[in-house]
């Protein structure tokens, strides 16, 4: 063997040994997979959210309720809801306006009129919807054109005082017609939606009540809390106000069997079974969520036990979206996740299309939302894939956590938890406080949370989340109502601006004018998207009812199908992208 050959063979052997060593090292450390995953992780900066509440003129701070002093030991707990937000173009100027609650005694609510230049003006006092906290406390609000006059009316949900219905006077002001309409349920509600359950073309009202019907400011007993942490059924009964068509409403919940006594924190409605009728989903705290199937004849059937498994979680929010384009909506439900104490996980109920649902949240990586509240599906960058935004955080206070005391009480048999006096004092404790919201973005077969890098970085106790395109650029913004903390507006400014199609639907004939419940199917580039006009689902919030379809790079739409609430199906002509279109029932087809 020549020296040269020897050197060559030695070199080859060295290379071989080095390669083998590297492969072994790679196997041990897994660095090639890490490299692979890093390439697939969320692209930093793809989503950009900038908080602009001061610049936009919506920088207000929510004020909490302060209830009867008999509840002082757990006051931070019981006064931890009420921050709500709802969107509608109440003055029909083409720009979405925002109602923002406050809940403290005599604290004004806000109606932010959109000035059309990126700023808002609080006109609540002039409009007559500011002074809502003289008695009770505001918890939620939802817009809906109950009289089909083309002007959004406002329903406000309160604790321990009659809810309020404000008719839009079409001149920027509102008239309180609560008494005349018979919609002043005095319960302790936290949720309301407008939807036409009996398909008579008139919007009806469904209200989710939380506490039993007691005056929380003047308690005769402290036995007002849930009687179980997992199976509580002693909450306030829910209400369904049927719209009689003459300006009055009648509560038909008991006779229809939808007066659920769970501790309802949110209600939502959507066509869950692709029947053309709107079904109810109740997100109940301390126990079983409920699904009521709309039979299409003005009645409901409780199909909960058939549709979903036993649920002992703390439901707080419900939102709907069709993630796979099959025409059957999936459901996202907020629950509680606190590692080391209570890892419930949020639900993402995949609609099996056969009347049943399966929780895909863990598989998709969208289960850990912290102590979750308002949560919405939204396509922030119009790429055609829906993101999920989750607000969270319960009580952000001192450094000591209440979790241990809460856990000890909840797991100790024999403690009557219904009696607030038996709860350990919260003092200045935090309870899942200072949590960062989640922005779940789809990457391959799973979602990743990119909230912080996207700019959704506040640590406030988020409650109501409203998605609304206030500047009509086709990019939806996030309006965030924080509990006892500043209201935030996150301007959406993604790196990649994709094409989109915006639709505002107007129902006629036997459809409600807001077209709530209408289903729109868009086909473009061989792909299919399905969306519904939403009744106000989502904890303490109602989003912009206009539909935005993100199209990615597509500029041509192959088909637009609209199934109106009254069942009529129309096909729109190929509409121009990157702008909003108003479609009126009966006049859509070219």
């Amino acid at each position: 063997m020549s020296r040269r050959q020897m050197l060559m063979r030695t070199g080859q052997a060295s290379i071989g040994v080095a390669v083998l060593g590297a492969l072994g090292l790679a196997h041990q450390t897994g660095w090639p997979m890490a490299l692979f995953h890093s390439r697939r992780s969320a692209a930093p900066g793809a989503f950009r959210l900038r908080e602009i509440s001061h610049r936009a003129g919506v920088a207000v701070t929510h004020q909490k309720v302060l209830l009867d002093h008999k509840l002082d030991n757990i006051m931070p707990w019981v006064c931890s809801v009420g921050a709500a937000v709802a969107a509608a173009d109440y003055n029909n100027d083409g720009f979405v306006d925002i109602f923002v609650s406050s809940s403290g005694r005599n604290m004004p609510c806000h109606l932010f009129r959109n000035n059309g230049d990126g700023t808002f003006t609080d006109v609540a006092h002039a409009a007559g919807v500011a002074d809502l906290n003289r008695e009770g406390g505001v918890m939620d609000a939802v817009w809906g054109d109950f009289d089909n006059d083309g002007w959004p009316d406002l329903y406000v949900v309160k604790w321990s005082a009659p809810n309020r219905l404000f008719r839009n006077n079409r001149d920027g002001t509102f008239t309180d017609i609560t008494e005349a309409s018979g919609t002043g349920d005095p319960g302790n509600g936290n949720a309301a939606i407008w939807f036409d359950y009996n398909e008579d073309g008139l919007l009806d009202l469904y209200i989710g009540n939380y506490f039993p019907p007691v005056d929380l400011w003047h308690l005769k007993t402290t036995r007002i809390m849930q009687d179980d942490f997992e199976r509580a059924r002693n909450g306030g009964r829910n209400v369904l106000y049927r719209n009689n068509g003459n300006g009055t409403f009648t509560n038909v919940a008991p006779q229809l069997g939808v007066d659920d006594p769970g501790w309802t924190l949110d209600v939502g409605a959507c066509d869950l079974f692709n029947t053309g009728h709107m079904d109810l989903y109740l997100a109940n705290d301390f126990g079983q969520d409920m699904i009521f199937k709309n039979n299409g004849d003005g009645t409901f059937t409780n199909i909960t036990s058939h549709a979903i498994p036993i649920d002992t979680r703390k439901g707080m929010n419900v939102d709907f979206a069709d993630l796979d384009g099959d025409g059957y909506p999936e459901i996202y439900v907020s629950n509680i996740t606190k590692p080391g104490y209570l890892v419930e996980g949020n639900y993402l109920w995949h609609n099996n299309g056969d009347g049943t649902f399966a929780d895909h949240a863990p598989m998709l990586g969208v289960d850990d939302g912290g102590w979750s509240w308002g949560a919405k599906f939204v396509d922030l960058d119009n790429d055609g894939e829906l993101e999920i935004v989750v607000l969270n955080g319960f009580v952000s206070a001192g450094p000591h956590s209440y979790w241990f005391e809460l856990g000890t009480m909840a797991t100790t048999p024999g403690i009557v938890v219904e009696d607030a006096r038996n709860w350990p004092p919260m003092d200045n404790d935090s309870l899942s406080g200072y949590e960062r919201s989640r922005l779940f973005v789809r990457r391959g077969s799973r979602y990743v949370d990119i909230a912080e890098e996207a700019g959704l970085a506040d640590l406030y106790d988020g409650r109501g989340l409203c998605i609304a395109d206030y500047d009509n650029d086709g990019l939806p913004e996030l309006f965030v109502a924080n509990q006892g903390q500043p209201f935030l507006l996150y301007k959406n400014d993604p790196v990649q601006c994709n094409h989109w199609l915006g639709l505002r639907l107007i129902g006629t004939d036997q459809s409600n004018r807001d077209a709530i419940g209408a289903r729109v199917t868009v086909i473009a580039g061989g792909r299919r998207w399905v969306k519904w006009v939403d009744p106000g689902s989502g904890f303490a919030s109602q989003s912009d009812r206009r539909l935005i379809f993100g199209l990615g790079s597509l500029t041509k739409i192959e088909q637009i199908e609209i199934r109106w609430p009254d069942g009529r199906v129309e096909y729109a002509p190929s509409l121009e992208v990157d702008r909003y279109h108003t479609l009126m029932e009966g006049r859509v087809t070219a």
């Binding site: 020549s2 942490f229 997992e230 890892v343 856990g407 909840a410 100790t412």
Partner: protein
């Protein structure tokens, strides 16, 4: 032949030919070098093995009283429990047509009850099992058989009712022990995790309360120690039960020495070490957990429960409630026959 070959080789390489003496010396050198290399490799491998082999640190276990008796361990009747049940009980002419509370018939009725259940005569079988327990209320085996039969058929409320009644009427440590185990069985009736955590925790709380009563009068009761330790082990970590689990399970491991000394049974021994190691693993103390399992392997070589744990990669031994070791949703087997049975 070698020369021809060599010539052939040299023809290929083009080097100068060498003499036979030089050739032999060269081969000697080669053999010597190879031998040296092999020796170095063997020495290195041996050294590496000595350095890297699992080191088993002895456990710092609590002292237990010397000369503990089987009764002290809560296993006074262990020899009776080990006896085989009467064969072919349903063909036994002494089996009464209806269950009778008769100590002399208890073993036969216990066997008959199990046989009837296997045949599908559930209620009748349960009645015989119940009669056996009533006839010999201090017999842990009969109580265990009855409870496991109820558990197997989801009759958790029957379990709780019967053993609650026993506690009220007998007030013995064994009655409290059986009720404690019934509460653990009832956890199977809770919604599966992550739902039903409060349901499970409240039952665990009740179980621990019963075991506290047992251990107050029989501090060396090995079943109660182990059961209480396991109860604590399953709680969410931040609820602070792991240190309590460690205390009880270390004591239970310590009690395996008198258990072995008395020759009572060996099936429990690897279970004790597995559980104690799980305490550390659940707490994120991976090496400490592995050390416990390795100690267990020394006492109970080739025990599957220990081998399966030692086979888990250390990076998967994390302090998650959802983990494979004692995570939420991992059912607990309350079959206490492991305390008097042999095997693994």
């Amino acid at each position: 032949m070698r020369l021809v070959s060599h010539e052939h080789l040299t023809g290929v390489t083009g080097e100068m030919p060498v003499s036979p003496g030089q050739h032999r010396r060269r081969w000697r050198h080669i053999v010597l070098v190879i031998t040296l290399i092999l020796v170095v490799i063997a020495a290195t491998a041996g050294g590496a093995y000595l350095l890297l082999r699992p080191r088993v640190q002895p456990l710092a276990l609590p002292a237990v009283p010397s000369n503990l008796s089987a009764a002290d361990l809560g296993l006074a009747g262990w020899q009776m429990y080990q006896r085989p049940l009467p064969p072919d009980p349903l063909a036994n002419p002494t089996l009464p047509a209806t269950p009778q509370v008769n100590p002399a018939l208890a073993a036969l009725e216990d066997a008959a009850g199990q046989a009837l259940i296997r045949q599908g005569a559930l209620d009748r079988g349960m009645a015989y099992l119940r009669a056996a327990v009533l006839a010999a209320p201090d017999n842990l085996r009969f109580a265990n058989d009855y409870r496991l039969a109820l558990r197997a058929h989801g009759r958790y409320s029957d379990e709780e009712a019967f053993f609650t009644w026993q506690v009220q009427t007998l007030k013995t440590p064994d009655a409290h022990l059986n009720l404690a185990l019934a509460y653990v069985d009832a956890m199977l009736s809770c919604p599966p995790p992550p739902d039903g955590l409060v349901c499970q925790a409240q039952l665990s709380y009740r179980s621990i309360s019963e075991l506290n009563t047992v251990l107050a009068v029989q501090p060396d009761n090995i079943i109660a120690r182990y059961a209480r330790g396991l109860n604590h082990l399953y709680w969410p970590v931040l609820m602070g039960h792991l240190p309590k689990a460690q205390i009880d399970l270390e004591y239970a491991v310590a009690l395996t020495r008198p258990l072995r000394a008395l020759g009572i049974g060996s099936a429990f021994i690897p279970q004790a070490y597995a559980a104690l190691g799980d305490v550390f693993a659940k707490d994120g103390q991976v090496q400490a957990g592995r050390n416990v399992w390795l100690n267990g392997e020394r006492v109970a070589p080739n025990a599957p429960i220990l081998q399966s744990r030692l086979a888990i990669p250390t990076d998967q031994l994390v302090n998650e409630e959802t983990g494979p070791l004692r995570g939420l949703g991992i059912p607990v087997n309350t079959d206490i026959s492991i305390f008097w049975s042999n095997g693994r």
